[in-house]
C-alpha cells in the first residue's frame, strides 16, 4: 500500500543523470572498457602453439561446413528446388543448380494457391494480435507494476500459472469456448477475434513487461504525478517512451508467434477463405505439383526470414530474456 508514489515524503529532485536513456546507457560502456580479455575452455596459450592453431583451423572449417550443410543447404535446396521443372525434380542424381531460372513457378504458386489471400489473412491476424497484445498486456503490466492494486500479486500469479499449462492440453476446451462463448454466446470461429484475443492472454509478455516497468525509477513517475499527470498520461508519456527496447521485443515475438502458429488456426479458421498461410499451404499440399508446393513454401517463409534478418538482435535478446538470467 505504501507503494503509491504520492505517499512517499521523499522529494523528487534526485533525478538520475541518465534521464531518458532508460536502462540502456550502462552496458555498452562497461563492455567497451574490457576489450575481449576473454578465455573459455581452451586457453589462448594452447591456441598459440602450432599444433593448437592447426587443430583450431580444422575445427573451424569443419564446424562452418557442417553447420552450413545442416542449416543453410536445406533452404538453398528449397529455393532452387522450386525453380526446377517436375522432371528435373524427379531426376536421379539431382542437379545442384537448376538448369533454368524460370521464376514463373513462383507466380504460378501465387495464383494457384491463392497465396495473396492467405498472406493478407495472416498479416491481418498477426497485425491485430500485435495491437491487442500491446494494448492489453502493457496496460496490465503497468497496473501490476506501478499501480499495485489489492490482490495484484494473486492476479499476476494466476497469469503466470497459465505458462505452466501446455497449449496442447487445453486445445479442446479452448476450441469449444471460442465456438460458443460463455455468457455472450458468440461463435468466434472464422473471425479474426479468435486469433487476436487469445494471443493477448500471454502471461510471458506480461511478465517481461512488468519486470521492465519495475526497473523504471520511481522518482520519474512521482515527479509527473506531482505535476498532476493521470496514470494513463504517465503510462503514455513516460513509461512507454522509456520502454522502447522491451516493447520491441514483445512486438516481434507476438507477430512471429502468430505467424508460426499452426494447430490453433487449423482448428478455428477452417474456412478456406480465412486460413493462414501455413494452414492454407498444408491443406492444399496434396493436390499441388511438387515444384508449385515448394515455391509456396518459399513464399510462406519469406516474411519471417525478412523479420529475422532485420531484427535478429532483438529476437535473440528476447530469447535470452525468456530463459533464466545467468
Amino acid at each position: 500500500m505504501s507503494n503509491l508514489a504520492v505517499q512517499s515524503p521523499r522529494p523528487a529532485p534526485a533525478l538520475p543523470p541518465k534521464r531518458g536513456s532508460g536502462g540502456r546507457g550502462r552496458r555498452p560502456r562497461a563492455a567497451k572498457e574490457a576489450p575481449r580479455e576473454f578465455r573459455s575452455l581452451v586457453s589462448p596459450h594452447t591456441l598459440n602453439t602450432p599444433r593448437g592453431r592447426l587443430i583450431y583451423r580444422i575445427t573451424l572449417t569443419l564446424v562452418v561446413v557442417a553447420f552450413t550443410a545442416a542449416f543453410v543447404f536445406p533452404l538453398y535446396w528449397m529455393v532452387t528446388g522450386a525453380l526446377k521443372t517436375p522432371e528435373e525434380l524427379a531426376q536421379i542424381p539431382p542437379s545442384f543448380f537448376p538448369t533454368s531460372f524460370d521464376f514463373g513457378v513462383y507466380a504460378e504458386a501465387w495464383d494457384q494457391l491463392d497465396l495473396g489471400l492467405f498472406l493478407t489473412n495472416t498479416v491481418v491476424y498477426a497485425g491485430g494480435a500485435w495491437l491487442f497484445t500491446l494494448a492489453i498486456d502493457v496496460s496490465a503490466a503497468y497496473a501490476l507494476s506501478k499501480l499495485r492494486p489489492v490482490l495484484g500479486n494473486v492476479v499476476l500469479a494466476l497469469m503466470l500459472a497459465t505458462l505452466m499449462i501446455p497449449p496442447m492440453v487445453i486445445l479442446l476446451p479452448a476450441y469449444l469456448t471460442v465456438k460458443d462463448m460463455p455468457i455472450f454466446g458468440w461463435d468466434l470461429l472464422n473471425t479474426p477475434w479468435v486469433i487476436w484475443l487469445p494471443a493477448a492472454a500471454n502471461g510471458f509478455f506480461i511478465f517481461l513487461l512488468k519486470r521492465f516497468f519495475d526497473s523504471i525509477p520511481r522518482e520519474l513517475l512521482e515527479a509527473a504525478q506531482i505535476d498532476g499527470a493521470s496514470p494513463a498520461r504517465i503510462l503514455w508519456s513516460i513509461v512507454l517512451p522509456v520502454s522502447r527496447p522491451i516493447l520491441g521485443v514483445v512486438s516481434i515475438l507476438s507477430v512471429v508467434n502468430v505467424w508460426k502458429d499452426f494447430v490453433w488456426p487449423l482448428l478455428v479458421l477452417p474456412d478456406g477463405e480465412k486460413m493462414t498461410i501455413s494452414v492454407g499451404i498444408a491443406s492444399l499440399s496434396a493436390q499441388m505439383p511438387q515444384n508449385v508446393l515448394i515455391a509456396s513454401l518459399v513464399i510462406a517463409s519469406i516474411p519471417t526470414m525478412v523479420v529475422f534478418f532485420i531484427f535478429q538482435r532483438s529476437i535473440m535478446a528476447g530469447l535470452t530474456a525468456g530463459s533464466l538470467k545467468g
Binding site: 504520492v6 573459455s40 575452455l41 581452451v42 586457453s43 575445427t59 573451424l60 564446424v63 562452418v64 553447420f67 543453410v72 536445406p74 533452404l75 535446396w77 528449397m78 528446388g81 536421379i92 539431382p94 492489453i136 496496460s139 496490465a140 501490476l144 499501480l147 492494486p149 489489492v150 492476479v155 497469469m159 497459465t162 505458462l163 505452466m164 501446455p166 496442447m168 492440453v169 487445453i170 486445445l171 479442446l172 476446451p173 469456448t177 462463448m181 484475443l197 493477448a200 492472454a201 498532476g228 496514470p231 503510462l235 508460426k260 499452426f262 498444408a282 511438387q290 508446393l293 515448394i294 513454401l297 510462406a300 529475422f308 530469447l319 535470452t320 530463459s323 533464466l324 538470467k325 545467468g326
Partner: protein, 305 residues
C-alpha cells in the same frame, strides 16, 4: 484533480481510503481487458478441460455427466498404449538429439573466434521458419524416390531408406525434423550461459592438469547446471505435445508407429466427434506435463531470488 486536494491531508483516514479506492479502481480499469482475455481463453478452458473429460459433449444437447466413461473409452482403445509409447519414445529420442547436440554445438561455438555471428545466425534460421513449412520441406526430403536424403545416401553408396513409410524409421524421421527446427533455441541459450562462466575456473582447472574433457565435466557442466536442468524440463514439456509432425508427415502411421497422444486427442475430437474422450486424453497429458512444469517453475523462482 483530487490529488491536489488530497496532497495536504495525506495522513487522514477517510482521504487515504478514498485514494486507495481510486487507485484500485484505476488499476483494475487498466487490468480488465487482460483479465477478460485470460478468463475466457486460459482460466476457463483449464477448468473446462477437467469438466470435459467427465462429460458427454455433442453440439446439440447440454453436456451430460458420464463419470469415468470417457477414460474407459480411451484406455480400452488399442491405440492408447501405442500413442503413449510413441510419445515417450519421441520425447526420449528428442532429448538424445535435441538436448545433447545444442549443448555440444554451444561449447564448440564458444571456442571459435571466427565466423561466430554467421554460425549463430544460421543455427537459428530454422527456428524462424514457420513449422508447417519446415515439416513440409522435410516431407519432400524424405521422399522415397528422388528425395534429398536418399539421393545423399545414394551418393555415399548406401542403401536407400524408406524414412516415413516404415515402422522402423518413421518415428525417428519425425524426431529429426523436430530437432532440426528447434535446435537453434537451445544452442543460443546455452551459448549465453557459457559466456557467463568465469575464466578463472578454467585457468585453475588447467593448472591442476585437467584436460579439455575434464574441464567440460568439472567446470562447464556444473556451472551451467541450472540452465541444463531448466532446458531439460522445458524440452520434455514441449516434445510431449508433439502434434504437427505426425499430423503433416505420417497421419500417425504406418501402423500407428507415429501416433502420439496429442494427435490421438485431436483424432478423437475432430475425426470421431468425441470431445469427451479427447478431453480425457488431454487431462492425462496435462497431469503428466504439470509435474514437469511445476518443477520448472520452482527452479525459475529459485533463480529469481
Amino acid at each position: 484533480m483530487t490529488t491536489m486536494t488530497v496532497k495536504g491531508s495525506r495522513r487522514r483516514g477517510p482521504g487515504a481510503f478514498r485514494r486507495g479506492l481510486r487507485r484500485n479502481l484505476t488499476a483494475y480499469g487498466f487490468l480488465c481487458a487482460a483479465l477478460i482475455c485470460f478468463a475466457f481463453f486460459s482460466w476457463y478452458p483449464m477448468v473446462r478441460e477437467v469438466l470435459l473429460s467427465f462429460q458427454q459433449t455433442n453440439f446439440v444437447d447440454d453436456p451430460t455427466w458420464v463419470g469415468l466413461e470417457n477414460f474407459r473409452t480411451v484406455t480400452e482403445d488399442s491405440a492408447f498404449a501405442d500413442a503413449w509409447l510413441n510419445t515417450l519414445a519421441f520425447t526420449g529420442l528428442a532429448l538424445v538429439f535435441g538436448y545433447v547436440i545444442p549443448f555440444v554445438a554451444a561449447i564448440v561455438l564458444n571456442e571459435l573466434r571466427h565466423a561466430r555471428a554467421y554460425l549463430r545466425f544460421i543455427v537459428y534460421l530454422p527456428v524462424m521458419l514457420p513449422p508447417a513449412v519446415g515439416v513440409l520441406l522435410f516431407k519432400w526430403f524424405y521422399d522415397p524416390g528422388a528425395g534429398l536424403f536418399n539421393q545423399i545416401l545414394d551418393l555415399a553408396h548406401l542403401p536407400a531408406l524408406s524414412w516415413l513409410d516404415s515402422t522402423d524409421t518413421a518415428l525417428i524421421s519425425l524426431v529429426i525434423v523436430s530437432t532440426w527446427m528447434n535446435l537453434g533455441t537451445g544452442t543460443l541459450i546455452y551459448l549465453a550461459a557459457l559466456q557467463s562462466i568465469p575464466s578463472e575456473l578454467y585457468e585453475a582447472a588447467e593448472l591442476d592438469g585437467a584436460g579439455i574433457f575434464k574441464r567440460v565435466w568439472h567446470v562447464t557442466i556444473p556451472q551451467t547446471r541450472l540452465i541444463l536442468l531448466v532446458m531439460l524440463l522445458l524440452q520434455i514439456v514441449a516434445t510431449m505435445q508433439v502434434f504437427i509432425e505426425p499430423y503433416l508427415l505420417t497421419g500417425g502411421g504406418p501402423e500407428n508407429a507415429t501416433l502420439t497422444v496429442a494427435y490421438l486427442m485431436y483424432q478423437y475430437a475432430f475425426n470421431f466427434g468425441d470431445f469427451g474422450a479427447g478431453g480425457a486424453l488431454g487431462l492425462m497429458l496435462m497431469v503428466v506435463l504439470m509435474v514437469f512444469s511445476a518443477f520448472y517453475l520452482r527452479l525459475s523462482r529459485d533463480d529469481q531470488s
